[in-house]
């Protein structure tokens, strides 16, 4: 899970009193730990993926079922991320800049998906939309498919990635306070003008940070999606599900080739996240 952005201004100056030995020991432990638990598996993924050469790697990615899983994952992310972006910004704006009854409840609800196991997140949709569920029979009579089809996958993904944007923005916007907005309003700006000219530029990097995390999770989600997918080859398998299938078919090279796409995504996410974090800190310092 993501840690919220550090919103306190960075305290400059050193407060190190420990001897160098202690410092270096601690640093080496952290680095060895990182190498063992993060870099080694990552290297293993790429190592396995390219084990039989570049052409085998590319062939594995060109396989129709793989392409369709990539397409489905992109569609899912393309629907999920904008919706959660809209919701996240709206919710964060309401929570950080206004006070209203039920505000705490809303904050708690936004956090709900973090505290629920992904399997449960998928199962609730099966219980609601499944054939034995509340509105499943009605849906079937009207020939509408939710679970075991793309809509179910998107719903489960939206649920799981719900908190990401809002969770990043709320502390940031609360730290920025509402003075600038109040000044804009006093100077005669409308609500929308205030939002687009004042609020939005201030939270730009926070949004990017939230979106990239949301996107990474949307593309990488396994548990919830697995429950509602139905695992129909070439139709309802997302990339993570397809990796599992390939692995189970002794198709190790292809499994790791497809997995390497997710690893790439993770690396890009990490990069953008670092840039966004740095920019946010800069922005706060400039204020």
């Amino acid at each position: 899970m993501s840690e919220p952005l550090s919103t306190t201004k960075k305290t400059e100056g050193r407060a190190q009193t420990e001897p160098a030995v202690v410092r270096w020991t601690l640093i080496s432990i952290a680095l060895i730990f990182l190498a063992l638990f993060l870099l080694l598996p990552l290297a293993a993924v790429f190592g396995q993926a390219f084990e039989k050469g570049l052409s085998v790697y590319l062939d594995a990615l060109k396989e129709p079922d793989t392409l369709s899983s990539i397409k489905l994952t992109l569609i899912t992310a393309a629907v999920t991320v904008p919706l959660n972006l809209f919701f996240g910004v709206t919710a964060a704006w309401a929570i950080a800049k206004f006070s209203f009854p039920g505000k705490n409840l809303l904050v708690t609800l936004i956090d709900l998906p973090f505290s629920v196991s992904p399997v449960i997140s998928g199962l609730i949709y099966v219980l609601i939309f499944g054939l034995q569920g509340w509105i499943g029979p009605w849906l079937q009579d009207h020939d509408i498919r939710i679970v075991f089809a793309v809509p179910g996958i998107i719903l489960a993904t939206i649920f799981v990635t719900f908190p990401f944007v809002a969770r990043e923005l709320i502390p940031l916007m609360e730290a920025q306070g509402k003075e600038e907005e109040e000044a804009a309003l006093v100077l005669g700006a409308t609500g929308l003008q205030t939002f687009f000219r004042v609020t939005l530029p201030n939270i730009k990097w926070g949004i990017i940070y939230g979106v990239i995390l949301c996107n990474a999770r949307a593309m990488g989600e396994f548990g919830a999606v697995s429950v509602v997918s139905g695992h129909i080859r070439g139709m309802t398998n997302t990339v993570p599900l397809h990796v599992e299938i390939l692995y189970n078919e002794y198709n190790y090279t292809a499994a790791f080739a497809v997995a390497s796409l997710l690893a790439f995504l993770a690396l890009i996410t990490l990069m953008v996240k670092t840039i966004a974090e740095w920019k946010v800190r800069q922005q706060l310092e400039n204020n």
Partner: protein
């Protein structure tokens, strides 16, 4: 009989009337919801059926596949996964779907041979050279032999493994239920890890290198050898084992609603054709047509009905909460 004739007559009539339309017959897709070890079989079979149906009916048919643990797949169909046909590991799982009204009762009589177009059994996969000299079921309970099998609570294949061992003990001289239970309990003392599915166990054995012997579907064992190299593993066929009859059926509700009944029925019937049987044999299933050659060793097979009085009873006695597996496994800890 009369009704059947009338229906046939109507069908013929309808076909003639729509023959002009049929030449423009739309492409059709079927969904075959199956269990884990049949992936390769059905990938092959679906292509063959598509060619056959194109020739016979001039219609392009695409069969989509979904694979997973047999019980899990049945559950998904019950919850609305739109399977035109299911081809699962055991009749018990299809009965569960029938109980919800998605399949007409008596489905198992619709097709020959209890609706099982191929059979399989449980064999041993051992490391090359068989270092622990595992030949038969009683070798599995020797001290120091590590046995890999999935969890019977979640895996259909594991239930077959369990019952195969039980049946073997039962058939020994002076074999009683109590002795069989003791035998299976000893066997499970030798199991270091219980995976949730058959493929998981196979990966544990071949990839992670755990265990001396893997209890596996016969076709899974040969597939593992073909995929991973005959220089590493070999199959040991015990003197006797259980006869697994994985049944197939049309999901009536889905096929009727989607208008795919005819193709779905032809699809299953094609499994019984010479071509279908050959494909089953090629993927190390035992064809029910004795004329189709098979590479598999002769083996004395007993059925669940003979040894356990049917799947419902076996399920209740052995795998329900508090059944023999729970008793064995909680006392083993």
């Amino acid at each position: 009989m009369n009704i059947k004739n009338i229906v046939t007559a109507f069908a013929v009539l309808a076909l003639t009337l729509s023959s002009s339309v049929a030449s423009f017959a739309a492409d059709i897709t079927l969904l075959n919801v199956s269990y884990d070890p049949t992936r390769e079989l059905y990938t092959d079979f679906n292509n063959s059926f598509a060619r056959y149906w194109q020739q016979k009916a001039g219609q392009k048919v695409t069969v989509k596949q979904s694979h997973g643990g047999s019980g899990k797949q049945a559950r998904a169909v019950i919850d609305g996964l739109e399977a035109d046909v299911v081809t699962l590991a055991l009749a018990y799982d299809i009965d569960a779907i029938a109980e919800k009204g998605l399949i007409k009762p008596g489905w198992q009589k619709e097709l020959p041979h209890n609706s099982s177009p191929y059979t399989s059994t449980i064999v041993f996969l051992v490391r090359k050279g068989n270092p622990k000299q595992i030949k038969n079921w009683d070798d599995l309970i020797k001290p120091g032999v590590s046995v890999i099998t999935p969890n019977p609570k979640t895996s259909g294949g594991a239930r077959w493994n369990y019952l195969a061992a039980w049946g073997f003990a039962l058939h020994q001289k002076g074999g009683t239920e109590a002795k069989a239970k003791e035998f299976v309990a000893k066997l499970f003392k030798n199991v270091p890890v219980l995976d949730s599915g058959a493929r998981g166990s196979t990966n544990t054995f071949v990839q992670r290198g755990l265990g001396d012997v893997l209890l596996a579907w016969e076709n899974e064992a040969f597939l593992a050898i073909n995929e991973l190299g005959p220089d590493k593993f070999e199959v040991v066929t015990p003197a006797e084992s259980i006869l697994a009859e994985p049944p197939v059926t049309v999901i009536d509700k889905v096929a009727d609603r989607r208008g795919t009944r005819k193709v779905a029925e032809e699809y299953l019937k094609y499994l019984y054709s010479d071509e279908g049987q050959k494909i089953a044999a090629k993927h190390y299933y035992r064809p029910i047509n004795a004329k189709i050659p098979t590479r598999l060793a002769k083996i004395k097979l007993y059925t669940v009905d003979q040894a356990f009085g049917g799947w419902k009873k076996a399920q209740k006695t052995h795998f329900a909460d508090g059944g023999t597996f729970d008793q064995i496994y909680s006392s083993a800890k």
